[in-house]
């Protein structure tokens, strides 16, 4: 098992915390947005951008880069904040989220913002795009890897399973999907809305290599992401068990914070909890 340098882990943890502060501030300033699913996704996205992916922020269109798609596009504040911390866009620009004319649209626009690889927002389409990108790598004899994060609500979408079937049918092995398994969707717990378990068995039955991890533990995340590059002949699924709203006490596990901005008082409390300045 890979052993990770303590300094690396604590560097990633600091980044994750910083990104949580950005996310809460951005959504507060925008007055609308989706804090819950942004906050549950932070560690996986940070691990990808700050350690795993082969990318160059100065060359966002470099043909050999690894790709990341946020299929659950409503979680884009985390993506934008990560791109900013990585140097794709100025950090100051984050506060323009959802404002008229901003490159930071309410749902990601690949033609507007550098580093955004796919326009998403209508749930359930990102994994199919990921399959397409992975197939393109094969055609072009390129070695890049494609990562797609999907929400557990997107497991309701028929298209997710169409993509799952296609990826394994085409033996796409340069593709890793990560399910942000935060157990909640818009109307309530996924278990109440549409049962998706036994989840790992379903994906295995579709021909995928499946790993389950704690989606807030960097060691777990790095191990799973790195291992997924070695799996040959089939696509990889990582079920990342997460907590919706992670890091802000009153947002944690709260359906109500799926899609609303914090009030001023809530914002101040969140920043205090995250050790930031309101």
């Amino acid at each position: 098992m890979a052993v990770y340098d303590k300094r690396l882990i604590s560097k990633l943890e600091r980044k994750a915390n910083l990104i949580r502060q950005h996310v809460v501030r951005m959504i507060y300033l925008a007055g609308s947005g989706h804090p819950g699913g942004s906050l549950s996704a932070v560690e996986v996205i940070v691990a990808l951008y700050f350690h795993v992916m082969n990318i160059d922020p100065k060359k966002p269109d470099w043909p050999d880069r690894d790709r990341f798609i946020l299929s659950k596009g409503h979680g884009c504040p985390t993506w934008y904040a990560t791109l900013a911390e990585k140097g794709y866009i100025p950090v100051e620009e984050l506060d323009t989220l959802r404002k008229l004319g901003s490159r930071l649209q309410g749902h990601p626009d690949m033609r507007a913002c550098p580093g955004v690889e796919a326009s998403t927002g209508s749930e359930g389409q990102g994994l199919s795009m990921g399959v397409g990108m992975a197939l393109a790598a094969r055609l072009d004899r390129k070695l890049y890897h494609v990562y797609v994060m999907i929400g557990d609500g997107e497991l309701d979408c028929g298209q997710t399973w169409e993509a799952a079937m296609a990826a394994s049918h085409f033996h796409v092995d340069n593709l890793t999907a990560i399910v942000d398994r935060n157990m909640l969707q818009l109307d309530g717990p996924t278990a109440h809305i549409m049962s998706v378990e036994p989840l790992a068995d379903k994906w295995k039955a579709f021909g995928w290599h499946v790993t389950e991890i704690n989606g807030h533990d960097f060691k777990d995340i790095l191990r799973a992401l790195e291992k997924s590059k070695d799996v040959k002949g089939r696509p990889n699924l990582i079920i990342a068990h997460t907590l919706k709203g992670k890091g802000v006490s009153y947002m944690e596990g709260a359906v109500s914070f799926h899609g609303k901005a914090p009030t001023k008082e809530e914002y101040e409390q969140a920043m205090e909890e995250l050790g930031g300045k309101a």
């Binding site: 596009g73 959802r98 404002k99 004319g101 309410g106 749902h107 609500g153 028929g158 549409m194």
Partner: protein
């Protein structure tokens, strides 16, 4: 007169109120949601009639065809979600399983148009009327305000066959004061006038009223028509207004190349040749922003209607 002079009310609340009342009276009414029941307010029906509400999760295609199955067995099925996901995403399911067999499914769409605001283009469908208008057997209704939404839903429940009802997210000005039954296919006269006719649909009807009020200050008498059924279109009222006023302006919170304005244009081309101007969203996707800002950015204000009216008036004499 100002937008602030009107009471702002939520179409979604009125639709849900009508739905719950219908549910009490009629056991054949069933409701389907796709993980947006709290946003589209079908959650209120679900609370009172849990056994007649089906939340299928984020699976709109599935929702439409399940609704078709229920309707095929005698149910009156109301399937509700955001307009983007209740039209474009499920066009083929609507076409094949609902419109073609003429099944009794009501598609109740909220969050249409750019007034969605911050969510941006992915959620701001501006071409849903085009899609629904194009379908044979489909009735297309765009209520002008919350009370009209309530009346329309009651009528729609009695009508047998596929219907698309479009509403927005925002609370909008209440401008209709009609009582009694909403009549499918009947445009209503809100203000008489004989210099120019302003035909609005949805949220733009209120802007037409404001525009008419402003025009009056310049001695221009504008007729205002609320075209709340886009299909079947009220050719008679439109043609009469065109002939009597000699010029028409249409206004819609929708793409101007494929929506209500084009439906009216077709009607005029075949029946009354008068100058006409369409106010609507140009041929572009929307973007994130505050809804009022977006209405301005995309040319959907009373001023835009006034400008269009002057343009039409200028061409009238020629």
């Amino acid at each position: 007169m100002n937008l602030k002079d009107f009471k702002l009310e939520s179409q979604r609340e009125y639709w849900a109120k009508a739905l719950v009342e219908l549910g009490k009276k009629r056991k054949d009414i069933v409701v389907l949601s796709a993980d947006l029941s709290s946003s589209v307010k079908t959650s209120l029906f679900a609370k009172d009639f849990p056994e007649r509400h089906f939340n299928v999760g984020i699976a709109e295609q599935n929702m439409m065809s399940i609704a078709a199955g229920l309707a095929a067995c005698g149910k009156t099925a109301f399937a509700s979600t955001f307009a983007a996901f209740g039209t474009g995403r499920v066009y083929d399911q609507i076409r094949q399983s609902i419109a073609y067999p003429k099944l009794n499914v009501k598609i109740i769409a909220t969050h249409a148009g750019i007034t969605v605001g911050g969510d941006g283009a992915t959620h701001q469908i501006v071409e849903d009327l085009a899609l629904m208008r194009a379908l044979p057997n489909m009735t297309v209704i765009v209520p002008a305000d919350a009370p009209e939404t309530y009346r329309a839903i009651k009528t729609v429940a009695d009508y047998v066959g596929p219907v698309y009802v479009r509403m927005g997210r925002a609370n909008i000005p209440t401008i209709t004061n009609s009582k009694g039954k909403f009549k499918i296919g009947k445009a209503t006269l809100l203000k008489d006038g004989d210099d120019v006719c302003l035909i609005g649909t949805g949220i733009m009807v209120s802007r037409c009223m404001l525009a008419a009020h402003e025009l009056k200050k310049h001695k221009i008498s504008a007729r205002v028509i609320n075209l709340s059924t886009i299909k079947p279109i009220d050719t008679k009222t439109i043609v009469k207004a065109a002939r009597e006023t000699g010029g028409v302006v249409t206004a819609e919170e929708h793409s101007s190349i494929v929506g209500m304005g084009s439906a009216v244009a077709m009607c005029l081309v075949e029946n009354a040749h008068v100058p006409m101007k369409r106010v609507g969203i140009p041929d572009v996707f929307g973007q994130s922003g505050d809804s009022d800002e977006l209405m301005e950015k995309y040319g959907l204000t009373a001023e835009n209607i006034i400008e269009a009216a002057h343009d039409v008036l200028g061409r009238k004499g020629r």
